[in-house]
Subunit: 348 residues, 2 copies
DNA sequence: CACCCTTGTTTAAGCGCTTAAAAGATTGCT
DNA sequence: AGCAATCTTTTAAGCGCTTAAACAAGGGTG
């Protein structure tokens, strides 16, 4: 239908010619309007509108050596923790007029690396990364190129980077304390083996809460993995015990496990949640909705993590060369009470 | 700590000098290695590694006039429909080696516009947009600049763009038919007024299903809005009727309403879900987890929408100038059965 | 009225890369 | 040895923008 085939977008030169001024004037109209008389500015604006001119950002950033965007690579957008982080980062970055570009690694290390490379090549102002495990190579490459970067939720020694962490021990502590405060006495901590660092920290927190409380007992139940199915398996195992031998409050190290347990207990009529057994998750992941009950959970405060990360990044970006000192910010988690926990029935 | 302050990243020229070759050779090593003898290539690669050279994408895309990324602007990442779309788009775009950059408008029209402008200035190969309402201005600006773009989930006349839609009438139809097939007779359709196009289409689908089925009755219940609270209000209203006067199957036009109803019925002990009343949502939004029961829902197939959109976009990008004809692809929704619906108890 | 400010506009030199075309090396063949 | 054909490398001209510096044209001043 369009008879006129736009070969290529109009350039500043086209605008300049059309408006009868020089190219520098066009640039000034766009970037430093105060340097231009209102009359010419008006003409130039008219030309821009008429021609549908759009500034070529590649040329601009080549000429200036700057970009106005920062890149964020997320491990998995299906996990609401990362979406929250993106929100927080957005907020922190908006405040100074930068734009946040998102790349979803979708649990694929190669893709994470691709995005890092992309942002590196695009010379973004800085990079926010919530790395998957084993991301050291990519992280170090980025670092060695001198690009500002801050890591989210990656607790590993020897990384030369600002980092935002959540206090995972506190996560476990809050979860267990909530159960104890609502009258639960036999606390179960359900988790996989501790090869994964946050699991270990949460365990320590749970142990501390139980110890502090005095009256309660702790049973640690190990699963193979961290998924819904592992929770189902735990529920099955629990079903084979006499009711008195079961925990009356469970801290599940992931929301998926928690939902699995709730589902398993429910469908096999093993126990009522929260009547017989209260369950607390440890992530407050919005997307975990496979369970039959709204989950009480300790929430990782992704938004605050993202915002803190953005602030650290800006700090690094603005530090005079060589002046920057890496920091680690630890965000405190918070408890969100929903339907999967309740005060223990008297005398049970 | 680092004594040497990297002023600026090394350029191709630095690499060339270091390797003792010309800059064109470096470029060739990177882009057309077959044109270079293995010996020099090796030297150049060594120099690249040694200097930590990273190709400046701005310069590259300025020189070539191309980019390898396409931009996607999402209305709201908190809504899993859009996350799914991103997944689908990723898949479609990966297939041809392009990179997907995401911008989250987070329900803010200004931000959506900012991202569109950003991608426009970055001369991305194309744009995928799931527009919020009233996005015409932004869409048309983009169009007039000749940038390939496809719209997701935006059913509006007069937009000169490829579009991917979901068959919303089918959404309503599937939801209602499921209720009827599981023995429900008194179907309630809960929705706000039809100013919002998908609401209307879903209503039509529900009506059709009820009509076709013969034995069932339809009651249309209007809410002010489309949120959780509106669902709660409906539950309250239902609670004031005698049980026999209530629907035994409800199609809620959004998941939020559905969850609100389920929650309201549950906490006020009005009725059992799904025992007394089955409830179906119309989005299958992963993030809607406020309800007490896992929701049966018609799923909008965001992944397929995203992938279809990517394919349409590639089609437009590859079409010889002026040859492209806009198309609309309609994706069929699918039913996902969970705990909020069940076969009606006999004799009820 | 020669001089210095302002204010507004243009000139021109890049930014770091790609790429067609030119130039050099090598090789094979007569 | 001489020459064409082939392979490898370099030269050089941009891509579209920014920006320091040069220039022009009016005013005040003294």
């Amino acid at each position: 239908m369009p008879a006129k085939v736009k070969k290529t977008n109009p350039s500043m030169l086209d605008v300049a010619r059309f408006a009868g001024v020089s190219i520098a004037t066009v640039s000034n109209v766009i970037n430093r309007p105060e340097k231009v008389s209102e009359a010419t500015a008006e003409q130039v604006r008219a030309a821009i509108a008429e021609l549908g001119f759009v500034r070529n950002d590649a040329a601009r950033s080549l000429a200036t050596g700057t970009t106005s965007s920062i890149g964020m690579v997320l491990a998995d957008l299906d996990n609401s923790l990362f979406v929250d982080m993106a929100h927080g980062a957005q907020r922190g970055v908006d405040a100074v007029g930068l734009r946040l570009l998102l790349g979803n690694a979708a649990c694929d290390l190669t893709r994470q690396d691709d995005y890092l490379r992309l942002f590196d090549e695009a010379r973004v102002g800085g990079v926010l990364l919530s790395p998957m495990e084993d991301s050291l190579a990519g992280i170090e490459r980025m670092r060695s190129h001198g690009r500002p970067m801050v890591l989210l939720n990656y607790d590993q020694d020897g990384i030369d980077c600002c980092t935002v962490l959540v206090d995972n021990e506190e996560v476990g502590y809050l979860a267990a304390r909530h159960l104890i405060e609502t009258g639960r006495k036999r606390i179960g901590f359900v988790a996989g083996r501790d090869y994964y660092q946050p699991v270990h920290a949460r365990r320590v927190g749970v142990q501390r809460a139980v110890r502090e409380a005095g009256g309660a007992r702790l049973e640690e139940i190990d699963t193979g993995g961290l998924d819904f199915e592992d929770g189902l398996a735990v529920a099955r195992a629990l079903g084979e015990r006499p009711p008195g031998q079961r925990p009356d409050g469970i801290v599940a190290v992931t929301d998926d496990i928690a939902n699995g347990i709730a589902e398993g207990l429910h469908t096999a009529f093993v126990a009522e949640v929260p009547g017989d057994i209260s369950i607390v998750g440890c992530e407050d992941n919005r997307s975990a909705r496979s369970g039959p009950v709204a989950l009480t959970a300790v929430q990782l405060e992704g938004v605050r993590m993202g915002q803190a990360a953005a602030e650290l990044l800006l700090e690094e970006m603005n530090a005079p060369a060589g002046e920057h000192r890496h920091r680690t910010v630890t965000v405190r988690p918070g408890l969100v009470v929903r339907a999967s926990t309740a005060v223990a029935p008297l005398g049970v």
